[in-house]
């Protein structure tokens, strides 16, 4: 089964590249089959339409990875993730992503 991955991003946060790199590592290390695409959002309306929590917002098989309980959809926002140590990170935890992708 092929995993469909979509990463929504903006031009305000430098988080896209490390996130893509992290996902590609997981795909390669686990021999997963995945279609990875990225989409640059351009305005607040697009952010609202896509329920964009900030850059990067990751959809795995159309389900948002670690959704944030908020209805604030701001184009310029950078996403906050919780890392493995419980701290704040602007990119998703590789371990948490890996668990979700393996189950997808």
């Amino acid at each position: 089964m092929v995993i469909n991955l979509l990463i929504l991003h903006n031009n305000s946060c430098p988080s896209l590249e490390p996130t893509v790199q992290r996902i590609n590592e997981i795909i390669e290390e686990n021999n997963l089959k995945a279609n990875l695409s990225t989409k640059l959002l351009k305005n607040d309306q697009e952010a609202k339409n896509w329920e964009f929590s900030g850059s990067p917002t990751i959809y795995i098989n159309n389900i948002q990875f670690e959704p944030i309980d908020s209805n604030l959809y701001r184009l310029e926002n950078c996403r906050t993730f919780i890392n493995d140590e419980g701290g704040i990170s602007p990119v998703p935890s590789k371990n948490k992503l890996e668990k979700v992708l393996i189950k997808a």
């Binding site: 305000s12 946060c13 430098p14 701001r74 310029e76 926002n77 950078c78 996403r79 906050t80 993730f81 890392n83 701290g87 704040i88 990170s89 602007p90 990119v91």
Partner: protein, 177 residues
């Protein structure tokens, strides 16, 4: 790109801080070496570096180094960055440096700051000696290869120039009105 260049003097200001005081860069209570950090509450990059900033102030206070953190973000669009929320953040994190509110965003514009966090270090003559990032790993302090800010301070407190004077600040963009 910053509006001020290496060797340029600092641009002074008078801003309110979360501790109830007003601060300018010529305040005698500040150390001779000043580290301006444009930051904010909401940005995950700013948050990721906060503890390191506290530790750097702790480490270098004996050398006459004062960190001054400034938030310039539009708090109408980002209520997490309001002055009240800044006060809460100051108390929560027990910042050991002043946290200033640049409500009009004039100071960020004068310095040409673009990211949070973005660092400007001035030596004891008030001249810019380093600008850019705090270090090269926002995610994992134990994996830092280059501690740009601390390396610069190690040189500047000895009266030397920073070995690396400019790096790219990595973080969220400042949210303009």
């Amino acid at each position: 790109m910053p509006n001020i260049k290496i060797n340029d003097p600092y641009i002074n200001f008078l801003l309110s801080a979360t501790d109830g005081q007003k601060y300018s860069l010529d305040l005698p209570s500040l150390g001779k070496i000043k580290v301006l950090i444009f930051s904010c509450n909401h940005c995950p990059y700013a948050q990721a570096w906060e503890n390191r900033i506290i530790n750097i102030q702790e480490k270098y206070s004996k050398d006459g180094v004062s960190i001054i953190m400034i938030s310039s973000n539009d708090s109408d669009a980002y209520p997490e960055d309001s002055f009240e929320k800044m006060k809460e953040r100051h108390d929560e994190k027990k910042f050991n440096f002043p946290y200033l509110y640049d409500e009009t965003q004039e100071i960020a514009k004068m310095y040409g700051a673009e990211r949070t966090p973005e660092v400007f270090v001035f030596d004891n003559l008030g001249l810019l000696r380093y600008t850019g990032a705090i270090d090269d790993n926002y995610e994992d302090e134990s994996a830092v290869n280059s501690s740009y800010l601390m390396d610069a301070l190690d040189n500047i407190v000895k009266g030397n120039k920073a070995s690396v004077e400019i790096t790219d600040a990595v973080g969220c963009t400042i949210k303009w009105k």
